[in-house]
């Protein structure tokens, strides 16, 4: 989230599209209800299903899953055509005025530089014209036909209300109502918030779904303001934290990148990451990259990381692929190239697509280690459960090791919520049986592995032998010690940059925050964006001052938010070119003639002049990108592409299947179904009574929602003669499930491209272990293909067939 849950109270229009906050995030959704009740805000829901969020909305409209980009580009076109644009914001805070190279072009669904065989683009022409002064060229009058604004205008021209209706199935009048309501928030005194979740990410073009809305929010001037923003409603208690700390194949903590093997030394690695400003006076904060990288290496390997050995650059493994995401990893496992696998609190056979392939892959492992507080379906993937897990146990030669861990209630530490608040928590109970904390388990695994290398030697033991491990009890590092390690400390006296005679932080002390980090080995920090969380003032994440002096929901004294306790990021954009708030009633910060100050930590250098320095300090342009340059795999502007499995052909270019730049492995391409055989458009979702595959182990939740079902419209039920509560079989090219049929008015057929499209809804909470009735998940059916940029699997749009059947066996 750019903003926080409590900030939603300040909105005028909450748009829930690609999510279902009332059911998946009920206590956060209360802030929408608060905004409706106390400031007359309106709620708009755009979803294939009439969800519980829709049931309290002012406006609801259906949309076929997988067509959000067509809808949103339609809104952008409407705003441009009807002058619903916050011009001062767009001209100064976005790259609308920058001039794009002549080589960039777009035609019939494809940009220049496409290689169909490789499913990849050459992105080199997707960039700005650079002037003789070394900066990107601009045209502040927006007259140049090659400026981003005019290219965008041309790009969205085809997304007319008629096109939107044809593709999305949203009636034209409803779409125009949405466009009008959103467009009204282009007023500097109106705010719209976008609340989304996996309904947007789980598509083969998920990143561009989100980009489309972010572009619209920029055009409306709704980023960086109270009640505005792009708010990803994250689904797990610490999914934000695990991303921040870089538990992803291509990431290091704090969104630093793992080096690729073609970055042969540290010089090459850093040379592309120091982001020279593209416009005069801009912050381009990633210029500090070397400070964060060197401080991380010092946190990892302490005195062994020196300038002479390139800060132990060789200790970091080098990538040979863009990433080892879970789809890539299970593809390798399926090919027999992975021997061992660890699952720390994860249930892949229910969570990853094409369950048949996942089970086959796990069966090829020599060993699998599970760390979990609960039984999981994955830990028993080898056990036969009739129709629910029909495997040949004896033939599965995988050794499975199951380790019992503590749960949240028995452990201490911080979790990062959706709004980037790092909230410390304390244990309330003793672990059951012999369950152990994850820190103890990871510590034990490490110490024993290190001991083996000490005794026996072996393959390149240096990074293991030299890993910094200065914990009071090496067997179980404490949460506070680890938090301090992430915050970072001074390894030598740190001096005031303005007065070198003054020591600001003594050697051995914790650094104040990342502004003190250096690239000369005098500081360490495990995660630069978390620096400031635990400094000499104490554990800031444990703060519990819930005062809110502004009355606008800032809560600056409650725990700690990254970065620098900033609650609304890009908040410099809440003020105009003179530094005055666009809307005084929503003031966050203001320029007083010499500095920025206000209720939140300014997202700009405190003395940066408002007319000179742009608000998007991480970007070399200083502005936000309506045109993404070469940073998105499938193009600088979003384009509507159909899902890989779609009931209708691509309306722009019928030759294109799915996202043309999405990676798909040959075996998975062969397992895609067509609409002739699988005529119904399926989607997956959560229920409010359950959390993933956890609550099927709880009595109360299973009393509330006991059994797996699929949800269909009355019209489809009638067509297929399916009774309410009857058993149905739902199958795709990859698998088959049996479920009770729930026939509802919440799903209605849509007309798309002249054709009736029926939606089949499939919730995701069941499996073959637990308290609940045995059931299936949507992943038995879904395709093994992900978003071109993030590789998030396409769980939200795929094709199935459905028929009446008999009950499953093995329950």
């Amino acid at each position: 989230m750019t903003n926080s849950w409590t900030d939603i109270r300040n909105t005028d229009l909450a748009v829930v599209m690609g999510g279902n906050a009332a059911e998946a995030h009920p206590c956060g959704f209360k802030w929408v209800v608060e905004a409706k009740a106390h400031r007359g805000a309106r709620l708009m829901v755009i979803d294939p299903r009439y969800t519980r969020t829709a049931s309290v909305a002012d406006v609801y409209m259906p949309i076929r899953q997988g067509t959000d980009i067509a809808f949103l580009l339609g809104v952008i076109k409407y705003c441009i055509d009807n002058n619903q644009v916050q011009w001062e914001y767009v001209k100064n805070f976005t790259n609308a005025t920058l001039i794009v190279k002549e080589g960039f072009s777009y035609q019939d669904g494809l940009f220049n530089g496409y290689d169909e065989q490789a499913r990849k683009y050459d992105t080199s022409e997707w960039d700005y014209e650079i002037g003789p002064d070394g900066f990107a060229k601009v045209d502040m009058t927006l007259q140049d036909p090659r400026c981003v604004w005019n290219l965008l205008k041309e790009h969205v021209a085809m997304y007319t209300p008629e096109f939107v209706e044809r593709v999305c199935g949203t009636p034209k009048e409803k779409f125009l109502l949405a466009a009008r309501m959103m467009g009204e928030t282009s007023s500097p005194t109106k705010a719209m918030t976008s609340m989304y979740a996996l309904g947007w990410t789980q598509h083969s073009k998920g990143s561009q779904n989100i980009r489309s809305m972010a572009m619209l929010q920029l055009i409306l001037g709704n980023i960086g303001i109270r009640g505005g923003g792009m708010n990803a409603l994250r689904g797990h208690s610490n999914i934000q934290g695990l991303t921040d700390v870089g538990l992803m194949s291509e990431l290091m903590p704090g969104y630093l990148n793992m080096p690729h093997e073609n970055e042969v030394d540290i010089k090459t690695y850093l040379s592309t990451r120091q982001f020279k400003p593209l416009r005069p006076n801009q912050t381009s904060y990633w210029q500090n990259y070397p400070k964060f990288f060197v401080s991380l290496q010092k946190a990892l390997w302490g005195p062994v990381a020196t300038k002479e050995n390139d800060w132990a650059y060789d200790y970091i493994p080098k990538l040979d692929k863009p990433m080892y995401d879970v789809l890539q990893t299970f593809e390798l496992m399926h090919q027999g190239k992975i021997t061992g696998y660890f699952c720390q609190g994860f249930n892949p056979i229910m969570a990853f697509p094409n369950r048949g392939k996942i089970t086959a892959s796990l069966s090829k492992l020599k060993w699998l280690v599970i760390m979990d507080p609960l039984e999981t379906d994955t830990s028993r993937f080898w056990e036969n459960h009739g129709d629910f897990n029909d495997v040949d146990t004896a033939s599965i030669q995988t050794e499975v090791i199951q380790l019992p861990t503590t749960c949240f209630a028995e452990e201490e530490g911080s979790l990062s919520n959706s709004g980037r608040w790092l909230q410390w928590h304390w244990p309330g109970g003793s672990p059951p049986g012999e369950a152990k904390h994850d820190n103890w388990i990871m510590g034990q695994i490490f110490l024993r592995l290190r001991e083996l290398y000490r005794k026996e030697g072996g393959a390149y033991p240096d990074p293991i032998l030299n890993l910094a491990w200065d914990y009071a009890n090496p067997h179980e590092p404490k949460a506070e010690e680890l938090a301090k390690e992430m915050n970072g400390k001074a390894l030598a006296d740190l001096h005031d940059p303005k007065d070198k005679s003054k020591v600001v932080t003594k050697a051995g002390q914790l650094v104040l925050n990342f502004s003190q980090l250096a690239d000369d080995g005098t500081t360490s920090s495990g995660c630069w964006i978390y620096s400031g969380c635990f400094n000499e003032a104490g554990n800031n994440m444990a703060r519990r001052d819930n005062a809110d002096p502004s009355g606008l929901g800032t809560y600056a004294g409650w725990t700690w938010a990254w970065p620098l306790n900033r609650r609304i990021i890009y908040n410099r954009a809440s003020a105009d070119m003179q530094g005055k708030p666009w809307d005084p009633s929503r003031k966050i910060i203001e320029w007083d003639g010499s500095k920025w100050a206000g209720d939140d930590v300014p997202d700009i250098a405190p003395t940066a002049k408002p007319e000179e320095v742009g608000p998007f300090i991480m970007n070399a342009e200083g502005s936000a990108r309506l045109f993404a340059r070469g940073m998105m795999k499938e193009g600088p502007f979003p384009v509507h592409y159909e899902p890989f499995e779609s009931p209708v052909p691509n309306p722009i270019n019928p030759k294109i299947r799915g996202n043309p730049a999405a990676r798909i492995f040959p075996g998975d391409l062969a397992q895609l179904g067509a609409s002739e055989e699988f005529p119904y458009a399926a989607t997956s979702y959560r229920l409010t009574e359950h959390f993933h595959y956890w609550t099927k182990h709880n009595r109360v939740n299973n009393v509330l929602q006991p059994q797996f079902f699929v949800e269909i419209s009355e019209q489809l039920a009638q067509e297929k003669n399916i009774p309410l509560g009857g058993w149905v079989r739902v199958w795709s090219k990859r698998g088959s499930v049996k479920a009770k049929a729930v026939v509802t008015k919440r799903i209605k057929p849509m007309i798309c491209d002249g054709k009736t499209v029926h939606v089949v809804g499939i919730p995701l909470h069941w499996g073959f272990t637990g308290f609940a009735h045995k059931g299936f998940g949507p992943n038995s059916l879904t395709p093994f293909v992900g978003d071109a940029n993030s590789q998030t699997p396409e769980f939200k749009a795929f094709l199935v067939n459905i028929e009446n059947t008999t009950p499953p066996e093995g329950n």
């Binding site: 060789d314 990893t329 244990p427 994850d438 992900g786």
Partner: protein, 199 residues
């Protein structure tokens, strides 16, 4: 801590009367109100409290865990009740249908109690000791790493990677556990490292 003690002390004295009155106003009969008031006092006076966060979605509602026994004194603590934290700015004491049943998660009959191993081809898990199982894991890792570790690629560039073992991190772990996990996984050279963030 002092504030905590005085607040709890105050509630012990004053809370019973206040709770009784409030419950009466909600339409409880005298007997039910008296029972409820008694239970309330029991919870406040006889249990320890810990501030925690709901383990489900990233709204991250504040919760209070009530236990018999005090971990801070080195005692064994059994969780008896979990409720929303009224001081928390986001949820202000409320919980959703999942959060309201958190105690069922903590005390689920499917909580794992002991390390176990399922041998290749076997149809059951067998209990093992922590010491043995951790030695086993370290040995499996060491042998596989020694066999498959790649120090240089075909071009002779130092790559120091290990791609035959993967690790999935858990998005319910703390940031501190995540950092520790990162250290252990990356120092071993593992590249196939991911979490729920993009699934």
């Amino acid at each position: 801590m002092n504030i905590e003690v005085s607040r709890r002390g105050l509630l012990k004295v004053a809370g019973v009367g206040a709770a009784g009155t409030a419950l009466g106003a909600l339409g409880f009969g005298a007997a039910e109100a008296a029972t409820a008031a008694h239970v309330r006092a029991f919870k406040l006076a006889r249990t320890t409290e810990a501030r925690n966060t709901c383990c489900y979605c990233a709204v991250a509602c504040g919760i209070i865990i009530y236990s018999k026994g005090d971990l801070r004194k080195g005692e064994t603590a059994e969780i008896t009740h979990i409720e929303g934290d009224a001081d928390h700015p986001t949820n202000r004491g409320t919980l959703c249908p999942k959060g309201a049943a958190l105690k069922d998660f903590v005390h689920s009959p499917d909580r794992l109690l002991y390390p176990k191993i399922r041998k290749p081809g076997s149809s059951k898990f067998e209990r093992v000791s922590w010491d043995d199982v951790l030695d086993r894991i370290a040995r499996l890792m060491k042998d596989e790493r020694d066999k498959q570790f790649v120090t240089k690629n075909a071009q002779g560039v130092t790559v120091n990677r290990w791609t035959s073992v993967g690790f999935l991190g858990a998005s319910a772990c703390t940031n501190e556990t995540a950092w520790l996990t990162w250290k252990v996984v990356r120092s071993a050279g593992i590249l196939a490292f991911d979490n729920q963030a993009r699934v």
